[in-house]
Every structure is written in structure tokens, then in C-alpha cells.
Symmetry: D2
Subunit: 382 residues, 4 copies
């Protein structure tokens, strides 16, 4: 066994998502944290790294230094992959730096601050011949894989309607004024880019809709709202979507839905059957029709196919959750990197640069449509 | 005790909704069916009436004859109220005829085929000094009354976001070509008017959104779809709504959501708390906030207020359903008519001409907006 | 159409279950209340009857008088059936009197105060050649009929384990001391007989277990408790059961489960598949196995068989509840009586004297077992 | 940071629970696997260890050798703790060996094969002054900690009734004859001890009932069944329990409930309020009363207390599951061991030898009661 050695950018003490990434990386024992630039504050980066058991020589002041120095270490010691868990506005520079120094990239979403940056990143990636993964966490749930396989197998017939919603309540008040760092950067155009709600959660919903249906949005019309007074970015919105096979879709995303925790739900209706999945009950997938009783498909049971099975660890009825979904992406990316070491390429099953481009296009198109009074706009093709 | 005597128009053998009305009328013993014009086919009307135990002299060939003859009977014998359960295109004429002959009207929704007809009806009603009720059934559920009272009491704070959805699957196939009379008339512009899905179910969702929130839609933008090939009317649609206090809303209605039975759900988010109600689990109302545990408010429990209590018959845990909700409207309308007999006017708590006008305005505005490519349009004021 | 004419004993103003019976009788229009002895207080009986629209000559002071006078009326006018909605201790005398005067009987459960009374009643009934129905309400739910048919069709394989529970919270406090008449008589041995909890709700659970499984309990061991201080009768208990095919069962009943409304749940496990049904979500029946996804069978859908279909009024997703289940028993009993008028006998599908005997045997055996320290006792055979 | 170094006994390739322990140990990075005796087959142990990245010198042929050799290593290198994940019959010897060589013990349940063994173990432990933990996994769920705190705080009033059930379907067929090693040893008296169902899952249910209620069972009466033909040990059973404050309890456990995955549910009823928790929806705890609406208490929300908070990693709505619950026990045991290094003793919050003794007493008493025809027996005191 030879774990993938990774360095982390961001995720210092007090950050939320960095530790989630590290738990995901540890769970299946396929990644090993070897270095990091955990904070733009050097002392804090050092303290964070040491608390994580790192050698202090590999706790770096910034990601550029990290890439420079790591690239000079012996091959068998240096990191192989950079994990990016910083606010959006820094993603492009970090990813570009990593690629230029020969490191694979695993990045939190959205991929970049703008679509243009993302396109540049895609060119760099193509030139580099390296690997890029995007942690659309929900994509890693076994029942999402099951859903995708069932759509692909034609169990729904022709997909005609997609309803996807992602509602949270945590930004219903002005958390950004109350010392909540997570809220503050997400609502700050300088750090988050042109969107809060669509960039933070709408894009997850969009990713699931395209990933599970196997369809692409061709046109959309959106209304984004800043429901809470004084916000420069959207905290709420609805998007009407046309898919490339003619299917219609409605996407609702909101962070002001007080009382909602992390309600992500995907419903896909074909002309024969439909699927329904909810993130807060992630091990259940409903398959429904007008004729047969609804079927409750469950993680770990004989009814599931290879995609679900490959992302399941324990028997049915022993709930696997968010960290496990995250770990599924990590484990899969590790397999890809291990194949890369051997000069092999394996089928990509987690989101990568293509999904990065689609996500950025979605964010920019929804904002543009909303600015124009909910006008129908074409989605860029990628 | 002196039951309200009613005559029914429509609802002959084979019809669905007529028998539901009659069950609702019987449940609380406040209405008595005394006559009817159950079908445009005279023999069938006669057979239906006799099967219902009516005197054959009071089984009429058509509603006009019914109104004429009944109006000539002694006051204590003649019907007091006409119940209309025919397809949409006939509602106006029947209601107008009833009012002109001095009878109260209880009508299935939508009130008329067009907004203009509905406005005419409102003038006739005003002149008549008679009573008019509209059977937005879902309005009769105890937890809808509870929800309305809690919003009115300020428990949600300022309402900011309304999500309402009504999805069914029964029109996912071409039922209109397979001898399904219910499908056939709803999809026939000559009988249904300008909309199928919005006129049949979207308008229920709209009614609940306004009724429970106490707000009015001022503007909307809609996309309606005929998902199933060859349909002249919409079987699906999404409506973006602005409310008079600035709140935003999204309404999804569809009849092609294969596998969905009768999924009507209303979520209202304020700045303090939110409510969530689903018709298929009608005796449960959720009150949620970011701070306290979600509360599951249940029909028949001490936590409910006067509106719910007045519409509840049995102890908690003994489910009351759709017929009971319908009967709540009947019972309430009976109370109104009984007061009318005594020259009294009591507070209106069930939908009437105002809701009829709002509903017709909603249908016409969504169709107009959709025709114009999802343009924002003002809702007419009433 | 010729409704069944019935007289009611009990159910005067303030009583709960009497009005439920009347709603059930009205819903499908197959019964007509023609007389009653609504209270042991003559004036109150008279007032109750008049409030129900009865002729005052048919509001009787007591059930004996009622039976005497009604029996002297012309055949086409007199009641045909006595509905008994009084406390348990009076059931036998009323039913016996009704039968002796030539009237059918529809009785609330438990059938009598003792098993011996019930045996006497069964002999009287046999002699009378009249009809007897017992309102085990839950038996009337469509999904209970569906469950029974599926077990009978062998979908579960051999039944091996039955779990049935019926928990309520309403007697968690000393309601009997706070003017709650329902609580007072149920906890009074002079009126309720030898058991409160088992006689009031345990017997419903027992009935469902035998009815749906098609099996009979042969032996049982029980512990009954009076959890609330000072009670002479049980308010809680657990019963271990052996069925005639060797299957094992556990029945839990309690009225002190604070916070529970009317939680009646039946789970039947065969060697191939299992069923799960809950009264508070009555239109859903689960069919589960170790191999296939669980199926959610729903009232009104094409997946249901004749028993469910015959007890369903409206399309799926329009909830039918407790009153509808009750009305199903009434409608079915009316069909039986109408056939009787014509000298015909139709297949019995609602509980009758056989279920009455089984229920009384269950109550007496559980009490006896509990008194003997949870000793295993044979159930009497009937 | 200085992780706890552990060695594992059992858990070689193909075993299920060993890998779950290792995931739990890794998740929070507080344990490090340094050695193991993964199989009684030496070559397999070696292969398993190497696959886990261990130095081959620390892959041992058996646990005795492991303990001997590890005890001879330098203090800072040797393992500190033995994790036992073998079948029941070996637990005692392994734990005793570990303690005698100066190692802490973390053991899968049940603690030993007999109560007598467990008592011996408790004496050895007392003499050793070392630490012992028992992985009653479900004990590690945040909502179980929340439940315990709420009972202790008096929110339920006096506890009067406990219903606990644990039903699975995986042993509904003769899996032991089909090469299922998990089934085979659990149903083999030589390996499992005197009970399958009660020893494997009933004891978990018992542990939760005592842990959450803070009460102790004083007497019980049980019927255990071998539902599937040919089994020497129980695969099903029901236990009636009396608690030390007079409360009554019913425990149902079964492994033949076809279609059930891992249905562990605990309901505790006080005289004021009740709690309801289900393992398959682990982040929800219900608090119910007869007066207020039921409250849905959720992991990660402000409504939870210190016990839940200490066992939660991520925000509400991001499901944490079985592995996380397991990891909570590991993390807590690591904290205990780290304090031990410093000569400190911290409050025990995970199950230990006391729970081990209670569990073994429960298993033996239920078997004895069942053998005597469901006779009431006193539980031994510990």
C-alpha cells in the first residue's frame, strides 16, 4: 500500500471544510497529509500544521512556497496532490500554481471565481497532463450513483422534468455581521465572486441534475434575490432550465429558508418512472411509477448496482453519511492518482474540469439572466 | 335542526367529483340533496337522481329548468343552494342562472372559464345579495387554518419566501385518448378554458399561498409547458411570484410527474420561523426555526388554535382526510346559509368570490406571461 | 335505494363515539337513523334525538322500550338494526334485547363484559338467524384488507413472527379524576369489565393480528400493569403469543405512553417477505423482503386488490382516514342487511360474533395470565 | 499530537467488523495501528497486516505472541492498547492476556462468552489499573447522548415505560449453511456462547435502555426462539423487564424479521414526556408530550447539549452515521488513554467493564428465564 501524499492549502484552525476534507482523506486510508499552507497567516499555518502532526519544515507560509519547495523534494517524498479548501477567489491561482509545479489538484467548489478563470484552468490542465478533481460532495453518495445508473439504463424512459432544490436557513439573519467567517466571505464579492447562493449551493444542485440525468442545460432563465437587506450578492434564487433533450427543469436554491438545515433534493421524472432523492436521508432512493408500488432502494442492499456498491462500506441499515460521501470522492481520486503513477488512465467517475466548467457557466448565466430581468439565455457549451 | 336544501348540477353516474361533494355534504348532516340536473343527458340525469333517492319530479333535464321549477316551489321545500360540479366552461352560466333565480351557489373551482366571466359573476353576486362559495378543498384542512392563524399571529415574523408545489402523475400518458373523461375535458380548450394544469391544480396551490400567508401576488413570470406531445393546453409549469410585501415565491405545478399521487406542499419562510405542510400527510404542520427544535403540530391536539379546532371532529391520531376537509367547507357554508335565513351575516371563512377572482386572474396572467416568453406581468387587482 | 333504518343506544350529547358512528353511517348514505335511546337520562335522550332531527315519538327513554315499540311498528317503518355505543357492561343486555325483538345488531367493541356473556350472545344470535357486526374500526382500512389478501396469497411465505403495538398517551395522567367521562368508565371495573387497556385497545391489536395473518392465537403469556397509581384496571401491558402454525407474536398495548396519539402498528414477518402498516399513516402498506427494494403500496393505486378497492372512495393521494374506515364497516353491514331482506346471505367481510368471541377470550386470558405471574395459558377455542 | 498506538486481534481480510474498527480509529486521527494478529492463520495475519501498511515484524501469528513481543519493545514504540474484534469465545483470553501484559483493552461486544468470564475479567482489570472499553457502537450516537442528558435533567419526569426493539432480517434464511462466516459463528454455541440474537443484538438494545434511562433492570422474563429450523441458538426473542424505580420495559430482538435492515429503536416514557430514537435515522431525537407539539431535536443544532455536541463533527443536515458513532467511542477512549499517560483519570463516558457485566448478566438471565418457560428471574447485581 502506498498512500497518496497530499498538501493542503487553507483549512487552518477554525476553518470548517478543511477538517472535513482531512477526515474524508483519512477514512479509507488512501491519502496521507504531508504538508500544508493552512493559512495566509504564517504563524497560524505553522501551528495548524503542527497540531496535525506535520513536520514543521513542511508547514509553509503560502502555497507558492509550498509548491516550490515540495517540487524540489525527492519524488518518493514530495506531495503528489494539492487540496484546495480556501475561499473562491484564490482557487484559480492555487490550482494553476500546483499544476505548473507538477502536482495534481483536488479542489473545493466552485472551481474558480469566474468562468474565464476556469477556462484558463482547463487549458493549463490539458497542457499539464495532470489530474483534477472537484469535490461536489453530494456526487459521492451511493444513491446518487445508483440514480445515475438507473437513468442511464432507461428505467425512467425519456427524462421530461427535473425538480431540484437546495434550501438552507443559516443565512436568514445577518450572520456576516456577527463574526461568522463562513458567512462573511461567501457574501463578499471580492472573495466569493459574483454569486453567493448560486455559487455556494445552487451549483451543487445543478451538478446533481446534470450528473444524474446525463443531460445538459442548454438555456435558462433565473431570478436571484438578495432577500436579506444590504447584501450585495444573492442569498436566494430560482432557475428555469431547458435540457438538451427538451426536458424542463426548475432549480430552487436559498440560504434564507429559516429552519431548513441542508435540504438538497433531486427529483427526475421520465415518461415511464421517476426518481426522488434527499440528501438528509441519503441512503434512500425512491423509484416511482404510475403503475407499480413505489420502490425504496437502499444503500447496501442487493438491489443496488456497481456504482452504489463501490461507494458503500457497511451493511444496510448502518447509515453512511456526508463524510463517507466525501471520502468516496477522495478514495476514487486516489485510485486515479495511483493508476497515473503506473502510467495508466482509468475511467473518471468523480467530477473534474468538465464539471468545473459547467458549474461556472451555470453561475455566470444565472446571474446574467437575473440581471436582465429573468431573460432566457443560452448556456455556454463546454 | 333544519338542513340546507341543495340541488346539484353535474355529478351524474360515472362522474367523480359529484359524489365527493355529496359525501362532504352528508358527513356533518347539514345539507340535504333535494333535486338535481346531474347530466346533460336527460335520461341519465333522471337515473342518477333516482339512484340517489330523489323524487323523480325533482330530477331535471337541465339546470335552467331546475332553477325555474324550484323557484316556483314553496319556500320551505325548494332548494336554497345550487352546487356546481360540471366542467369549467359551464360554471358561469349555471352560477348566473342560480343567482338570478334566488339561489345561493357553491361551485367547484376554477370559478369560471375566464376572468371576465368571473368579474361578471361578482357583479351579479353583489346585486343578488346571495351567498357564493368556492370549493378550494385544501383550504378546509385544519392544519391550513392553523397555519394561517400562526402567520397572522406573527409567529413567522415577516414572510420572505413562499415555496408551493402541486405535482401529480396521472396525465403523464395520453389519458385523454384512452377514454378517461376527466382527462379529456381538462385538456380540451373548449371545456377547460385556457389552461389545464394551472386551472386545475396550480390555482389550488396559488389559493393556499395567498390564503395562508395573507399576502397577495402583485407580479409574476411563468413558463407553462405541454410536456406530452399533441396537447393544446399546459400540463406543467413554474411560476415566479412577487408578493405585496416584497416576498418572493415559486410555484411548481405539474400533471406529468409520473409516480406522484397528489403532492401539494406549502412552505412559508419568515424572518423568524417557517411552516411546512403537505396534503398527503394533512394532519401534520411543521413549525421550524434556526434556534428551537422543529415542532410537529398535529390536528386535534391542545397546540392547535380555533381555526383548526373548528374543523376537527375526532381525537388526535385518528386521521381525518380529504373528504373531511371538503366537508369542512360544506359545514361552514351551511352555517353561513343558516345565518342568512335569519337575516344575519357571519364572518366568511371559506373561499368565495374574492378568491374566485384571484384564481382566475392567476390563471390568465400565468398563461399570458408564458406566451410572452416568461415575461414579468402585473397581476390584476381585485 | 332503500337505506337501512337503525336505532342507536347511547351516543347522546357529549358522548364521543356515538357521533363517529353516525358520521360513518351517513357517509355512504346506506343507513338512516330513525330512532334512539341516547342516554339513560330520559330528557337527555329526548334532547339528543331531537337535535338529530328525529321525531320525538322515536326518542326513547331506554333500549327496552325502544325495542318493544319499534317491534310494533309497520315493517317498512320500524328500525331494522340496533347500533350499540354504550359502555361495555351494558352491551350484552342491549344486544340480547335487540335480537329477541328481531333486530340486527351492530355493536362497539368489546362485544360484552365477559366471555361468558359473549358465548350466550353467540347462542342467541344463532337462534335468531339475525345479523351481528362488531366495529373493530381499524379492520375497515383498505390497506388492512390489502394486507390480509397478500398474506392469504402467500406473498409472505409462512408467517413466523407478528409484532403488533397499540400505544396511546391520553391516560398518562389521572384523567378519570378530572371529569373525563371516557376515562372514568374505562377505568371502572363495574363498567369496563376486567380490563381497561387490553379491553379498550389491546383487543383491536389482537383482532388485526388474527385478521390479517389468518392465524389464531393458541397460547399466551401476559403482563398487565396499572402504571398510574390507584388504578384498579390495567393501563399497560405486553402479551407473548403463540399462533396455531407455530408463529410467535408480541403485542404491546399501553395508554400511558405520553405523547403517543393513536399509534397502532402491525408487522407480520413470513419466511419470504414482511408487511408493515401504521394506523396514523393508514393509506400506506409496506411490503419488504431481504432481496427486493421495499414496496410502498398505496390506497387507490393499481397495485391494490379487490379488498382495498372495495373500501376506497377517491383517487390516490387524497387521504381517506378513520371515519372512512368506520364507514366501510357500515356500508358492508348495510349490504349484508339488504341481502338479508331478500333472503340472501353474502360473504361476511367485517368482524362479527366469531371475532367477538376471540376478542373476549383474549381479554380474559391475558388478565388470567397476568394474575398468575405471566404464566402461559391456552386460549379458549371458538 | 501523539496518537494512541494500538494492535488489533482479529479483523483480517474478509472480516467485516475489523475494518469498521479501523475506519473508526482513523476518522479522528487519534489512534494509530501499529501491529496485529489478524487471523488465527499466520500467513493470513501477515498478509492482512502488510495490506494495512504494517511492518511485517509486527504482524503476529497470535495474540499471545503479540502481547509478549510488544511488551518487550521500547515504551514509546510498543502498542498501548489491544483492540479485540474476534468471535465471542475468544474475548476473555485475549483481554486477560492484554491486561496481564500491561495493555489497555477495547473490545467488541459481548465482552466475554459467559458472565463468569466477565467477572474474572473485571477482577483482572481492577488489579491491573488499566483501561477497558466496550464498543456498544450505538452508544456513540450524539442523539443517544442527548437523550441520556434529557432524561437525567428530568425532562421526562419519572420514567415509567421503556420500549426497545432491535430487529434485523439477515438471518431469516439459513445463511449459516451458505458460507456466511458472520452467520456461522454467531449461531455456533462453541463460538458465540449461549445466545445468538440476545448476545449479538439484544444486548445492544439492553445497553441503550439502561444507558439512556439511567435505570437498572432488576427482574426479567424472556421467551427466546429459534425460529429457523435446526438452530441451536436463539434468533429471536422478547424480554419483559422491571427497572429499579418500578418502570416496566419490553425488549424485542429478532434476526428473522425479513426486510428489516438494522432497526434499533428506543422509546422511553416518563410521566411528563417521552423520547423516541431510531438508529436508521440517527440524527433525529423526538421529545413528545401530551400538551406541547412534538419536538424534533437534531444533531448539530443549538438545541443540543454538551454530550451531543462533543460527538458531532459537522453542521446540521450533513448526516453523520454509524462509522462516526463508532469513531466517537474511539476518540473518547483515546482521550482517556492520553489522560492515563499523564497519570490522570477522566470521567468515563463510554461503556466499560460495568456495562460488560450488565450485558453478560442480561444474556444469561434471558436464556435462563426462557429455558424455564418465561419465568421471572432476578438480574444479578453488579
Amino acid at each position: 500500500m502506498n498512500k497518496v501524499r497530499y498538501g493542503m492549502v487553507g483549512g487552518g484552525e477554525g476553518a470548517f471544510i478543511g477538517e472535513v476534507h482531512r477526515m474524508a482523506a483519512r477514512l479509507d486510508d488512501s491519502f496521507e497529509l504531508v504538508c500544508g499552507a493552512f493559512s495566509s497567516n504564517e504563524a497560524r499555518s505553522m501551528d495548524s500544521g503542527k497540531a496535525l502532526g506535520l513536520d514543521e519544515h513542511r508547514c509553509y507560509a503560502d502555497y507558492f512556497t509550498m509548491c516550490e519547495i515540495e517540487a524540489s523534494l525527492p519524488l518518493e517524498k514530495r506531495m503528489e496532490c494539492v487540496v484546495i479548501v480556501t475561499p473562491n477567489h484564490t482557487h484559480y491561482d492555487i490550482a494553476a500554481t500546483a499544476l505548473k509545479h507538477g502536482f495534481h489538484v483536488l479542489s473545493d467548489k466552485p472551481a474558480t471565481a469566474t468562468l474565464k478563470e476556469c477556462e484558463h484552468l482547463s487549458w493549463l490542465l490539458e497542457d499539464s497532463n495532470l489530474l483534477y478533481g472537484l469535490t461536489h460532495t453530494y456526487n459521492g453518495y451511493p444513491m446518487i450513483r445508483e440514480a445515475r445508473e438507473r437513468v442511464a439504463a432507461g428505467q425512467l424512459g425519456t427524462v421530461r422534468k427535473i425538480l431540484v432544490e437546495y434550501t438552507q436557513g443559516w443565512l436568514a439573519g445577518r450572520e456576516e455581521d456577527r463574526g461568522n467567517a463562513q458567512a462573511a466571505w461567501r457574501l463578499d464579492p471580492a472573495k466569493a465572486g459574483i454569486s453567493c447562493c448560486m455559487g455556494d449551493i445552487g451549483v451543487h444542485a445543478f451538478n446533481l441534475a446534470e450528473f444524474v440525468s446525463g443531460l445538459s442545460v442548454t438555456r435558462l432563465a433565473a431570478e436571484l434575490n438578495a432577500i436579506v437587506d444590504g447584501r450585495q450578492l444573492d442569498d436566494d434564487g430560482t432557475v428555469l432550465m431547458h435540457f438538451d433533450n427538451g426536458a424542463r427543469g426548475t432549480l430552487v436554491a436559498s440560504q434564507v429558508c429559516v429552519g431548513d438545515e441542508n435540504n438538497l433534493r433531486l427529483r427526475i421524472y421520465g415518461d415511464k418512472a421517476s426518481l426522488d432523492w434527499q440528501q438528509m436521508d441519503p441512503n434512500t432512493l425512491w423509484l416511482k411509477s404510475n403503475i407499480e408500488p413505489a420502490q425504496m432502494i437502499r444503500t447496501g442492499t442487493p438491489a443496488t448496482g456497481p456504482g452504489a456498491a463501490a461507494n458503500t462500506r457497511i451493511p444496510p441499515g448502518h447509515p453512511e453519511g456526508y463524510i463517507e460521501a466525501f471520502a468516496n470522492l477522495y478514495r476514487t481520486f486516489a485510485e486515479e492518482i495511483m493508476a497515473f503513477r503506473d502510467g495508466e488512465v482509468i475511467d473518471r467517475t468523480i467530477p473534474g474540469i468538465q464539471e468545473a466548467l459547467r458549474g461556472m457557466a451555470f453561475i455566470e448565466t444565472t446571474v446574467a439572466s437575473s440581471t436582465k430581468g429573468c431573460r432566457w439565455l443560452d448556456m455556454p457549451k463546454h
